[in-house]
């Protein structure tokens, strides 16, 4: 029997990924699956900077990866492959934070203001800017953007866009407290805000209602991350794309069963929230596959083009291994 090859996989620590960490997911046949718990902006068991390490170092065979950076990489024909698995999703609305004493309650109140982001191309930045313009009819070009992390893929800033690199993402809580910035839109709020050490509130008074309305109108729980495969691996074994697709769906299905136990979660009413969300969404907002997510991808390609991150609009078929397009 041939020796199994190693397949390295770098993923974030989520409930839906625990079947990878406790070994309950079925590994791909012929491979010895090695799972790494690697964070993006915060250090996890096996490190940090997952996206950069995948894009520039090809350090992993398979990795959870930034959707926006992936769109840019594919727009530039960089050698990276994908499967239509989307392990992270966020609505933009809950991630918009302002000072508690401010009069900002809607994106329109932020016109002319200073809003901090992670990088300009961070998926949450892409989504928030796009939602502002196309959902709330507030041109993102009217905001002064302050950037705190480096761009993974270089691009030329569109003319007239007001942006400055300020760095120091960890200090954004303090900067908001001191009113040096008016808001921040981040995929992970700063630690001082999470702990309540520095004052901040969400822009919308009722994010849940706002997001539910968005879901009903737009149809998606917006994608943040995709799963990327090393191009040379896919070329050598095209079937790996289907196996990766299967594994992630298996993990997601296993994790959904966790919530059958009314005490799985440390949230005392976790089971109630699970039941409520199931009733509110009706269909599964986490459904993977190309067909169900095509409209979301097309919207993001439009956003990315509008924000000057890709030169041309392209069909989303280009993003994924061919044998996963029928999913």
């Amino acid at each position: 029997m041939a020796q199994d090859k190693d397949l390295t996989l770098a993923i974030e620590r989520y409930d839906r990924h625990f079947p990878f960490f406790d070994g309950t997911v079925t590994p791909p046949e012929g491979y010895n699956l090695k799972v790494f718990q690697v964070g993006q902006s915060s250090e996890l068991r096996d490190g940090i900077d997952r996206h950069g390490r995948m894009l520039h170092g090809e350090e992993f065979d398979v990795a959870e990866f930034s959707m926006s950076t992936f769109l840019m990489a594919k727009g530039r024909n960089m050698p990276i492959a994908g499967v239509p698995i989307f392990p992270r999703r966020l609505f933009s609305q809950s991630q918009m934070w302002v000072h508690p004493d401010s009069d900002f309650w809607h994106p329109r109140d932020l016109v002319g203001k200073k809003v901090a982001l992670s990088s300009f191309q961070t998926t949450l930045s892409l989504l928030a800017k796009g939602d502002m313009k196309f959902h709330y009819e507030v041109p993102w070009e009217d905001i002064h953007w302050l950037l705190t992390t480096d761009e993974k893929v270089k691009f030329n800033v569109k003319e007239g866009v007001k942006l400055d690199f300020i760095g120091n993402r960890a200090d954004l809580g303090k900067m908001l407290e001191d009113r040096e910035i008016d808001a921040f839109f981040l995929p992970h709020p700063p630690h001082s805000v999470v702990t309540g050490e520095t004052p901040a509130r969400r822009l919308f008074a009722d994010c849940k209602a706002e997001e539910l309305d968005y879901f009903e109108k737009v149809g998606d729980f917006p994608i943040m991350h995709v799963v990327a495969i090393r191009q040379s691996l896919l070329d050598a074994d095209p079937n790996i794309a289907k196996e990766v697709f299967r594994m992630f769906n298996e993990s997601k299905a296993l994790a959904a069963t966790y919530y059958e136990d009314p005490n799985w979660s440390r949230l005392a009413w976790g089971r109630h929230y699970f039941e409520e969300e199931r009733n509110l969404f009706v269909s599964d907002p986490w459904e993977n596959g190309f067909g169900r997510n095509k409209a979301n991808l097309e919207r993001f390609i439009k956003y990315s083009h509008d924000q000057g991150l890709i030169d041309e609009i392209y069909a989303p078929d280009k993003l994924f291994a061919e044998n996963t397009l029928d999913t």
Partner: protein, 327 residues
């Protein structure tokens, strides 16, 4: 696995993942074999955890039911294991009380004379639900017909007049409810037929609000499980009991930090739910250690004694390893 390793059987909860992914600090100088063993539904390494621990004593360290442990300890016979004040599972009784539609049950007062299915009579959730009915809602549990679906692990003589009418193992509970033979179900893991909204509903339409009020009145998120350690293992490793309390505390802290990520959970509003609970409770609802849980344990001892499960009410101190009483 290494025959000398200390086996450590835990259920699959978010707060136990630090044990499964190796991020929880474990006592030094000992090899642990962490097993994922379910109780009524299977984990990675099987099911029936409590029965495998007693009478089998299959594991060195094991998550175990508070009620059967109390019954064994209160009988005064020498036990093969000793508890430490770590409490991995907690449930409010209210959310677990399901009643049949059309049974004419609008509130706890309507339960008199009704037939309620249980797991075993002495299952921790059964004891809690009966105790809460009597001491919190003023409905005498003695007026209800109790229908256990499973035998008791620890034998006891039912108090005179108590009506216990077992349901045969494997009986179709849905069919029994449809035939009007059972009117409700109070179980820690209710089977799907017992939470089918076409047939059953929760006794309290707003169980969430009911439990928040209960918590404010009693200060307790009721304990379901504790952790027991085989006495030979305690003797072989002085200080282990105390050190494990610290490991469980660390695991609680780590799992709490999961929720810092607004997308840790597949619940779209999981972070909002987390913030709302933190505000609602105003206290850590998962404290480990003896002091913070003494009153909670003492209330349960009172329930158990009132229900005829223990011949006398022991002091909570007598239940735990001496070296952990100062935690």
């Amino acid at each position: 696995m290494d025959g000398d390793a200390v086996s450590f059987a835990l259920d699959r909860y978010d707060r136990h993942f630090p044990f499964f992914d190796g991020t929880a600090p474990l006592p030094r100088g000992i090899d642990f074999d962490v097993l994922q063993v379910g109780q009524s539904s299977p984990g990675r390494d099987g099911t029936g955890r409590h029965e495998r621990m007693y009478p089998g004593v299959e594991f060195d360290i094991c998550e175990f039911g508070l009620s059967p442990y109390l019954m064994m300890a209160a009988r005064g016979a020498a036990l093969p294991f000793t508890a430490i004040p770590c409490f991995p599972r907690r449930l409010f009784s209210q959310s677990q009380m399901w009643v049949r539609r059309g049974a004419g049950i609008e509130g706890p007062q309507d339960l008199a004379g009704k037939r309620i299915a249980l797991r075993s009579f002495h299952t921790t959730l059964s004891v809690l639900a009966r105790g809460d009915l009597k001491s919190y809602y003023g409905t005498a549990w003695e007026d209800i017909v109790w229908c256990p679906t499973k035998g008791d692990m620890v034998a006891f003589d039912a108090k005179p007049g108590v009506r216990i009418e077992p349901i045969p193992t494997g009986a179709d509970l849905g069919a029994l409810a449809d035939a009007g033979d059972i009117d409700g179900c109070f179980m820690p893991h209710p089977p799907p037929a017992m939470v089918d909204p076409a047939r059953m509903r929760r006794l309290f339409a707003d169980a969430h609000a009911e439990e928040a009020t209960f918590f404010r009145a009693t200060g307790a998120y009721p304990i379901m499980h504790l952790v027991v350690i085989r006495n030979e293992v305690l003797d072989a490793h002085p200080g282990l009991a105390r050190a494990l309390v610290e490991s469980f505390r660390a695991a609680q802290r780590i799992s709490e930090s999961y929720y810092d990520d607004p997308n840790w959970s597949c619940l779209a509003w999981g972070r909002h739910d987390f913030e709302a609970e933190r505000q609602s409770f105003g206290a850590d609802i998962w404290p480990e250690g003896f002091t913070a849980n003494r009153a909670n344990v003492e209330r349960f001892i009172g329930y158990s004694f009132d229900q005829g499960l223990i011949p006398r009410a022991p002091a909570p101190e007598s239940l735990f390893a001496a070296e952990t009483l100062e935690t």
